[in-house]
Chain length 247, copies 2
Amino acid sequence: MMAKQAPFPHRPARPSIIAGQLTELLKTLQPGERLPGELTLSQQFGVSRNTVRDALAALQHDGAVVRQHGQGTFKAAARVPLHASLNRMLPVPELIRQSGYTPGVQNLILATEPADEDTALALGIEPGQSTRTIEMLYMAGEQPAVQIRYTLSPALLRAVPDWADFTPQEGVLGFIVRHWPGAVSHSSTQISAVLATQEMARPLNVAVGAPLLRFMTLGIGIDGTALYRNVSYQSGEFLDVHILRPV
Amino acid sequence: MMAKQAPFPHRPARPSIIAGQLTELLKTLQPGERLPGELTLSQQFGVSRNTVRDALAALQHDGAVVRQHGQGTFKAAARVPLHASLNRMLPVPELIRQSGYTPGVQNLILATEPADEDTALALGIEPGQSTRTIEMLYMAGEQPAVQIRYTLSPALLRAVPDWADFTPQEGVLGFIVRHWPGAVSHSSTQISAVLATQEMARPLNVAVGAPLLRFMTLGIGIDGTALYRNVSYQSGEFLDVHILRPV
DNA sequence: CAGTGGTCTAGACCACCGA
DNA sequence: CGGTGGTCTAGACCACTGC
């Protein structure tokens, strides 16, 4: 016991600090090499074993280390390259950045429209209720990467009514998080494949009839209600989208 | 202190037991209704607050409850329906079952082939090394759902040499986990959209040129090496694949 | 057997919320 | 202010591994 806290309040959570330091340590190790034991690490960093374990669990989660019961923790043999990961919600520009491209935007369209039946069902509102739509084309460098169309729920518009200073560069998710921190909980994305129609083909610079990835995402608020829906199309050529998942 | 353990060793981890009991409790609540506080729950279940928190975190993770700092834990307003979720690694038949269909198999082909350059690179082996391939067509009820082709690494074949009692019904992942528990750590899946070629179109019962989802998955072992690779094609019509992800 | 990671506990302090 | 969830600690016991 005697749970003395650190002299300063811990803004960046302790485990993530430790994880950072462990990442540095990992750079000095060969793949397959063993790390010090949890007890040793906890003494070295001056934190409890639980905190070290949290840090190691995070590193294990994204494949940086490998842990085996009676043996130890080892630097992973081959780290899976995580280009654009679907494991966490990320604003689209951030996704493009993680893929190694410079994000850009074209054809931004904002409008206020009544919800059609499909959207209303997804958002849990009445058809015809007024919604804000945002449509844009994200670029990866010079190349069009993602065509995306958001529909914002009335609830979201009530909470964040002023979209005057919205910039596509931070993305819709980024904007919401900045104006209403803690509002978004998670998202549910459905994936499908479609053929490019004329109106998608032009902006995305692909042939009509080319195969496109379609993502239909529902943004869920902390109270469990739908905050927004978006439908995006991409050729997949520029965003190499990955999912990393545990057994 | 005084960390008295339960009278019996805890095979199913305590938090998951608690999570199950909490799920029962949730059924008696209305959406939005508050759960008892963590302290109360920990006393009720006779476990520590940390254990209750682990259970609640799990429920929160799949969207069953919503937690707000100074306020409490609430039953989620609308639970996201999780058909076939890509959040964890699952054998394909299990995925089909979760979508509400009865899984079946057709056209099982096993062969031993030298690795082509592409596969060798993915598996981290030399081109031409001998690999086992498994190719099959999974059915969702009467309808063809997923065409999938596995390539097993030599390392996996050394560890699990006997595939005589492999049944497609349990899936390749299921078979590996049964024969070599703890061997698989996670997987990395890359998603793309393609047009059905003649050879895919026939078994999947779609038109040539129809849009198909293509999943390229690399199975990673606990030591970080690649255990298998698979490429699967599906029309997406029968497997409504979802990803749930946190902010 | 000693050392490792895996699990759980009891308790402390913190930050946040509503009355 | 009291109650809530969020964080971290110190320490116990367990299960697994290799010597």
